[in-house]
């Protein structure tokens, strides 16, 4: 009976966490350099950007939406800002322009979802295509890759610096996670996002301004995308806009869903994103050391996702008491 009880305590987050620990132990025992401090840091560092984007996705998903334009916003806004610097604009002015572009475009997405009532899947898909197309056609001249200008000042430190021995991307990701955690758990606006994701009509009748709140979610995630872009660009001293056409956005959804955030809204928190991100980090790092092919890596990632969801649905069967429309 004790085993049964322990079994029932499992949920997707815990399963994924245990899986992460298990993989970690297995890799530590079998792979030579896995436990080295340098490797562990690079492990976390390699998923820092993914984690930051995951936080943006979390906020939107909690409000029963989804943001497929995250990666496009990240790439185009930062690439454009860096190009402005190269063209001679002061760094702060250029960065502010980039941030305002990201927030503005996210606000348009938010308005499309909240006021024009376009389903978030379509609105953000269309906006992703629009941002990339418009950015490449009218904002970014030259090749797909915008290189980082030399005179970026301290901003470069965000990608390359260290703080207390930790690479800055990890520090920034941790700080963002803390901010988002505090925002969701302790502020009124955070509570409203959960409320809207849980039950939109009830939130509305209760007097929450539902539409501005929906738009706000996308604006926040747009801002987070800009930060993620800065980290990416300063780490590798360039922003490759073709990242928009990669499957990065699916990885972002993967870490969110893997950690146990409910796509039907209202369920999940920052911890879920961290757990999901770490699993992907450990997995990718271990497989890279083992020299597993990239294509095989994708297969394994997807199998892990399916496994986590299947185990969760066996352990916590959905019945009409706990189920929600649109649940996965």
């Amino acid at each position: 009976m004790d085993i049964g009880k322990a079994f029932r305590l499992l949920n997707q987050e815990r399963i994924v966490f245990l899986l992460t620990v298990l993989l970690f132990v297995v890799f530590s025992l079998t792979l030579n350099n896995f436990l080295a401090a340098g490797n562990l840091l690079s492990l976390v560092r390699s998923v820092a950007v993914l984690g930051i984007l995951g936080l943006g996705m979390l906020i939107v998903v909690l409000g029963r939406g989804i943001d497929l334009s995250l990666v496009a916003t990240m790439a185009i806004s930062v690439a454009w800002a860096m190009q402005l610097v190269s063209q001679g604009m002061p760094v702060y002015a250029a960065m502010t322009s980039g941030l305002l572009f990201a927030l503005g475009i996210a606000l348009i997405t938010g308005i499309l979802v909240a006021y024009a009532e376009i389903p978030p899947l379509f609105a953000t898909l269309a906006m992703a295509t629009f941002i990339y197309g418009f950015g490449r056609a009218h904002m970014i001249t030259g090749t797909d890759v915008v290189y980082m200008p030399k005179d970026m000042g301290w901003i470069v430190e965000l990608g390359q610096g260290h703080f207390l021995g930790l690479p800055m991307p990890i520090v920034v990701a941790a700080a963002m996670a803390l901010v988002v955690f505090l925002f969701l758990k302790y502020t009124k606006l955070g509570a409203f996002i959960y409320a809207i994701g849980d039950n939109l009509p009830a939130s509305r009748i209760g007097g929450i301004s539902v539409r501005p709140m929906l738009a706000l979610q996308y604006v926040i995630s747009g801002g987070i995308a800009f930060v993620a872009g800065i980290i990416t660009a300063t780490s590798v001293e360039a922003m490759n806009t073709r990242v928009v056409n990669s499957n990065m956005i699916y990885d972002v959804i993967l870490v969110v869903v893997l950690g146990g955030v409910g796509l039907s809204g209202g369920r999940g928190n920052v911890r879920n994103v961290i757990v999901g991100t770490l699993l992907i980090g450990v997995l990718m790092n271990g497989m890279t050391i083992m020299d597993v092919q990239y294509t095989i890596q994708n297969v394994i990632k997807s199998l892990i996702l399916l496994l986590a969801i299947v185990v969760d649905s066996i352990v916590n069967p959905r019945d009409e008491q706990t189920g929600q429309q649109g649940d996965i």
Partner: protein
Amino acid sequence: MTPVLELKTVFKEFHGVAAIRGVDFTLMPGEVHSLLGENGAGKSTLTKIMAGVYEASSGEVLFDGKPRVFGSPAEALHNGIAMVFQETSLIPSLTVAQNIYLGNEKFLNRLRGIYIAAQQFLQSLNFGVDPTMYVSQLGAAQKQMVEIARAVHHKARVIIFDEPTATLTPEEKHHFFSLIKRLKRDGVSIIFISHALEEALEISDRITILRDGQHVVTDEASNFDRDTIISAMVGRTLSEELYSRDRKRTVRPYGRKVLSVQNLSMGKMVRNTSFSVYGGQITGIFGLIGSGRTETAKIISGVIKRDFFHGGEVRLEGRSVRYRVPRPAVKDGVVYVTEDRKIEGFFETKSIAENIYMNLLSADLNKRSVISHSEMMQLADEWTAKLNVKAIDANARVIELSGGNQQKVVIARSLVQLPKLIIFDEPTRGVDVGAIAELHRVINELADAGLAVVVISSYLPEILNLADRILVSRQGRIVEEFSVDEATEEKIMYAAVH
């Protein structure tokens, strides 16, 4: 005669909590068997075990004298056990005929063929539903009819009705009961779950009463009356204090005019309606389903919008208001307590405390943007005590409570917003007898405290018992007003129907 269906000492646990504790039940061929009990007594769970929705934790289910376990509702249906659910299980994007034939389609399924067959079939049941209509276009009562038609069409030998009459008008109820009698003549066994005791008494052969997941009594219906049923259900006699008109009650006088509605219109649902609501008394609005009561209440509280042109006027304390969304209404002290708490009443992933606190936050009453846990718990303790919400503590999730306690939380959510005008839409729907008395007490106290209270109900005894003045709504308009002294059930019903 062997019973069609027999349950022997059935137990059912959810997450270690027993919902059904050792219940025995028999269903004879061709009998109408009512299953009564308060909300949370285990009626729905018990019938869902019969219909294959749940599997019993222990005990036996015998069908035709042989032990059977149905793995799914589909399997049960195939064997002749159909359940008409409380929440409709029809597919909204299909037509009536397609829904009736769902799972029974021929390999080559010609729509025209099933429309003609469905038309004849519905006519034979005396149901006035157009088989080519999409289910999403139907009203609640019509959906219920389609659901029943589907069960009959599947040639079910056992049909379980879970609260079938809650959404029906008197005329439709009449149809429904004659249908039940017909089914019974054809040898179909019927299990009937209802809160309307008179209906159960009228229609059943036998009655089984459950309390707290346990079997209390099973007997011939003729050996029961309203009071014996209620005392068996709740373990005490309180029929007297509820819904008795003999008790002398003092009618509250008119207070100041809080709300005045003139020529309000919205599409075809609300047509040019006018009335006023006064402070310090309860205004009861009676009307049949579809008479525009809910829509009128929702327009006043900003949940839906009135017509842009010729939409009429709403005055709150003399000031003309037009709410596009509920938020300004809430800030002005106008709150609407929904009739459908599961869909728009509370947050199912959240605790009682979080649910109540959320509405304080959304009304901007505590002027803070950071959440205070101690403030939340204090608020929750205060309101759960005031409304007597029965739960382990304020951290329990609302979805786990019984209907009556859920309703109390929904009401607490509205009351923390300090309303001037509060509109209760069917405040006691799906609520057990014990909780009804408590809800009525709360509503009376609000009026005594000087609030303008509106109670919308389609249950006449409730309106007669609560209201200080009674408005009757018909076809989108308030057509008549009665004082408590002159009102009788007959007069009100006459006004609502003609």
